[in-house]
Symmetry: C2
Subunit: 214 residues, 2 copies
Amino acid sequence: MDKPITVLLYEDNRDLREGISFLLQATPGIVLAAACPHVNNLKADLAAYTPDVVLTDIGMPGMTGLEALPIIKATNPNIQVLMLTVFDDDERIFQAIRGGASGYLLKNTPPAEIIQAVFDVYRGGSPMTSSVARKVLQHFQQPAKVSSSEQLLSAREQDILKGLMKGYSYKLIADELHISIDTVRTHIRNVYEKLQVNSKTEAILKAMKDGFLG
Amino acid sequence: MDKPITVLLYEDNRDLREGISFLLQATPGIVLAAACPHVNNLKADLAAYTPDVVLTDIGMPGMTGLEALPIIKATNPNIQVLMLTVFDDDERIFQAIRGGASGYLLKNTPPAEIIQAVFDVYRGGSPMTSSVARKVLQHFQQPAKVSSSEQLLSAREQDILKGLMKGYSYKLIADELHISIDTVRTHIRNVYEKLQVNSKTEAILKAMKDGFLG
DNA sequence: CACCAAACCGCATTATCATGCGATTGTAGA
DNA sequence: TCTACAATCGCATGATAATGCGGTTTGGTG
């Protein structure tokens, strides 16, 4: 049916590298092109093996997996990169995601799932350890809006704020809402007080961060 | 060791509901409080069963799972909600995430993984079907930055832009970078020209939208 | 009815920003 | 070497924004 998936593995820990290599080789449908302890010959490797999927550690001597990521995606954005690492801090997770990683597994993932993940990324999925996924989801959820907040801003004030967030000047906002520029000023003054800020920029940032309500 | 996880299930399809119920009941460490075909008695259910985890379908007669979600989180934000559905469109996925869902499984998920997912959410993870995860990740990745863009902005210009994005005034940026305010002006001028904008706000919005590069 | 909040308007002052013009230095490349 | 450009600094001017103070109208609530 399908052609086999060509995988390239980077992992500095020898035992782990050999373990995963063995698994990959033993799996029908997967061809392990190479397994390297470092990513320093990255470009040559990519050219030589033309992998479909790159499975890589983050912490490696020399160039890290995170540094390698943009190079891989620049070489061929169709290559799916799966991070396999012990790090689960926000910083590295988001750096990986922004860099275009298609999956993020922690090293405590059982071998069978790692294999499954290779198939998943190749098919357009993004396998993620569930604790990692949680961190990702949290960045979408309204930051709790814990302490009430209700509708801190009146409807009109929200209109004005939306105008600011579109990059409009006071005058433009006034025109769009058919009110005078002085009224816009007044509303903005009130918005600033409610949001505890004192500039357009701060207001916009705050509004973006915790979605209109403080 | 641990107390069992109390689960509340909502699923209108009878076969599926009974199938999942059977699985949950057969799993040590999980107690199925109830399995309902609709979510219309939601508040009463929550009060009666005080679940740790709610497993819910999205498409149900009467109130949908998506409508129920905010009510659940409002009742007790500690309840972990796991969406189990056939829908994999962006709209519903993000509505669920924004609403505070802790996991999102498609119905083709094998039973064993559903059970595993219940444990995962309870432990603070966010199990997600990998195709759903992909959609989520895509919202973080730089919008392609299709046409080159290279490093449109010099390193220093990016420093200044970062300052703007933190809401700093020219003066603050100047202080932080140990340069004169006039230099800041100059850099900003150049940034504006490169980004094709003419105000702080526009620059920030543009920078946020397509990640520094235009 | 009296009170209050929201929405509306105006004016004045100071602060900050946007922009034009000009200039020096250092480094990388044609 | 000449050129190009990043990075630095300065001055000046008109445009916006921030803020203080004052005011009217309207709709809802105790």
